[in-house]
C-alpha cells in the first residue's frame, strides 16, 4: 500500500534528531511537525523570518503580523526569535539548518530537483525553494513516486526546469525511501506491502537494489 500523507510525514519524522533546526516546506512536509517523537525537541524555521514556529493560533491569539512561509497565521514556540529575510536566508544558505524537507515534481539520479514550475501551466515562482536546496546539506524530498497515470517522477534526467542541481541525496516517496549517489538511485526501504518489483517498474532512473529491502517501520 502506498503511504498516506500522514505516513510520509511519520517516516520523515524518524530522521529527526533532538536539537535539530528544521525547515519544513508547504504540504506534506508541514505535517512532519505532528510526528516529532516523544521527548525530542526540534525547532522549526520559517524562511519569512521566524525560528521557533509554534502551532496555529487560537482565535484569541490570531495576529496578522505573525505568519509562516505558507502565509498561514502561526504562533511562536518558547525561545523563538524573529529576524529579517536576509538573515533568514543567511541561515539557510550558510548551512545552519540541520534538516530541510520539501516536495518536488521530479528528481533524478544526479540529485537534480524540479519543483517550482511547469512551463505554460504553473508559473508561480520558486519562493525560497532554490535557496533551501542549495543551502542545506541534509534534505529529504517527499513526493509521490509516479503520477496517477503511472508516469515515474524518479528520472534519469529531470524534464522540468530545475530548482537545484546535484543537491538531493534522500527521497521519500509514497512507495520507497531512496538514496541518491554515484548517479543512481539506491533503494533503502519500501512502503509496507509494496513490492520491490512495483518500485522498479515505477522508477525510470537507474535503481540499484542491493540485498533484501526492508519494509518501513512505523
Amino acid at each position: 500500500m502506498a503511504l498516506s500523507r500522514e505516513q510520509l510525514a511519520q517516516r520523515v519524522a524518524q530522521e529527526l534528531q533532538d536539537g535539530y533546526y528544521v525547515n519544513l516546506g508547504i504540504g506534506i512536509p508541514t505535517l512532519v511537525a505532528n510526528f516529532v517523537p516523544e521527548g525530542m525537541e526540534v525547532m522549526l524555521q520559517s524562511e519569512n523570518g521566524l525560528l521557533g514556529m509554534g502551532q496555529f493560533p487560537t482565535e484569541a491569539e490570531l495576529d496578522a503580523d505573525l505568519i509562516n512561509a505558507g502565509k498561514q497565521t502561526v504562533t511562536m514556540a518558547k525561545g523563538a526569535s524573529i529576524f529579517d529575510s536576509a538573515e533568514s536566508f543567511a541561515m539557510i544558505r550558510g548551512g545552519h539548518v540541520d534538516l530541510t524537507v520539501l516536495g518536488a515534481f521530479e528528481v533524478d539520479v544526479n540529485g537534480n530537483i524540479a519543483s517550482y514550475m511547469i512551463p505554460g501551466k504553473l508559473i508561480k515562482g520558486m519562493g525560497g525553494a532554490m535557496d533551501l536546496v542549495a543551502g542545506a546539506d541534509n534534505i529529504i524530498v517527499t513526493m509521490t513516486h509516479a503520477s496517477k497515470h503511472g508516469v515515474s517522477k524518479l528520472l534519469s534526467n529531470c524534464t522540468l526546469p530545475l530548482t537545484g542541481k546535484g543537491c538531493i541525496k534522500k527521497v521519500l516517496t509514497d512507495l520507497a525511501f531512496i538514496e541518491i549517489k554515484n548517479g543512481k538511485f539506491y533503494l533503502l526501504e519500501r512502503a509496507p506491502g509494496v513490492s520491490v518489483e512495483e518500485i522498479i517498474s515505477l522508477t525510470e532512473g537507474e535503481l540499484v537494489v542491493e540485498g533484501d529491502i526492508p519494509e518501513m517501520k512505523f
Binding site: S46, E47, N48, G49, L50, Q55, F56, P57, T58, E59, A60, L62, D63, A64, D65, L66, I67, N68, G70, K71, Q72, T73, V74, M76, I82, F83, D84, S85, A86, S88, F89, I92, R93, N112, M117, I123, K124, G125, M126, G127, G128, A129, M130, D131, A134, G135, P161, L162, T163, G164, K165, G166
Partner: protein, 234 residues
C-alpha cells in the same frame, strides 16, 4: 532638530517625486508587513511603467495587486506570484514582465544594493533557469552564480514604531523584507503605526537606523490576513 525630523503629514507628500518608469522596492511578505497605504497612494497618483521589486505582488484587491488593473506595473522582480488572477492573466499575455528571483537571493540583492556591494556569488539557482546569462564560478569545489545588487528610486516600507528621526522597530514576521528595502531606496519612505520622540526607543533595539529613512508617515492599517488558520481553543 528639524534636520533629522523625517515626519511628513500626508501620503501625497510621502510619495512626492515618484515618476513614471521608476523602480520601487517594497517590503512585505505576502500581505504581512506591506506598506499598504503607500501602495494605495501610488494607485491614486496613477504612476505608470513602474518596475516593482517585492517578494510577492499582493492579491487581486489588496497590496501591490491593486496596481495591476491600471497597468501601473511594467515589470516585477519577485520570488512568488501566485494567488492573483489578474497578475497571471497579464503575465501569460506578456503584458507584464516577470523576473522570478529566489527569495534569499532577492533579500540579499536588496541588502547588497543598500550596502555598496555591487554583486555577490551564491549557490542558489546554479544549474537552474535563474542562472541563465549569469557568470558561474567554483569555490572550494562548489558551484556558484554571480548575482547583482538591486537599488530603487524609491523604497516603500512598513514598520511598527519609529521615532521622529526615522529609527525603526518592526513587529514579529512583519519585519521580513522591510529592513533591506529600507536600505536600498534613493528615497526611502516608511509608514508606521506609532511615532515616538527621539530617545524613547532603546538604541540597542532599533532594527533600522534612521540614516536610511527619508520620510516617515503615521498610518492606519487594515492588515489583511491571507491564510487565516486557527486551532480550537481547547
Amino acid at each position: 532638530m528639524a534636520g533629522f525630523d523625517k515626519v511628513v503629514s500626508s501620503y501625497e507628500e510621502a510619495m512626492a517625486g515618484l515618476e513614471d518608469n521608476m523602480t520601487v522596492i517594497a517590503g512585505g511578505f505576502g500581505l504581512c508587513g506591506i506598506p499598504e497605504n503607500l501602495i494605495s497612494e501610488i494607485k491614486r497618483k496613477g504612476t505608470k511603467g513602474l518596475t516593482v521589486v517585492s517578494n510577492n505582488c499582493g492579491v487581486d484587491d489588496f497590496g501591490l495587486g491593486i496596481l495591476l488593473p491600471d497597468r501601473q506595473i511594467k515589470k516585477i522582480i519577485a520570488s512568488y506570484v501566485g494567488e492573483n488572477a489578474e497578475f497571471e492573466r497579464q503575465m501569460m499575455n506578456g503584458e507584464l514582465d516577470v523576473e522570478l528571483t529566489p527569495q534569499g537571493t532577492l533579500a540579499e540583492k536588496m541588502r547588497a544594493g543598500g550596502a555598496g556591494i555591487p554583486a555577490f556569488f551564491t549557490a542558489t539557482g546554479y544549474g537552474t533557469p535563474v542562472a541563465e546569462g549569469k557568470e558561474e564560478r567554483e569555490f572550494d569545489g562548489r558551484h556558484y552564480i554571480l548575482e547583482e545588487a538591486i537599488k530603487g528610486d524609491f523604497a516603500i516600507v512598513k514598520a511598527w514604531k519609529a521615532d521622529r528621526y526615522g529609527n525603526l522597530v518592526f513587529r514579529k514576521t512583519a519585519r521580513n523584507f522591510n529592513p533591506m528595502a529600507a536600505t536600498a531606496g534613493k528615497i526611502t519612505v516608511v509608514e508606521v503605526e506609532e511615532i515616538v520622540e527621539p530617545g524613547e526607543l532603546d538604541p540597542d533595539q532599533i532594527h533600522t537606523p534612521g540614516i536610511y529613512v527619508n520620510r516617515l508617515i503615521l498610518g492606519t492599517f487594515e492588515k489583511r490576513i491571507e491564510q487565516r488558520t486557527v486551532r480550537s481553543d481547547s
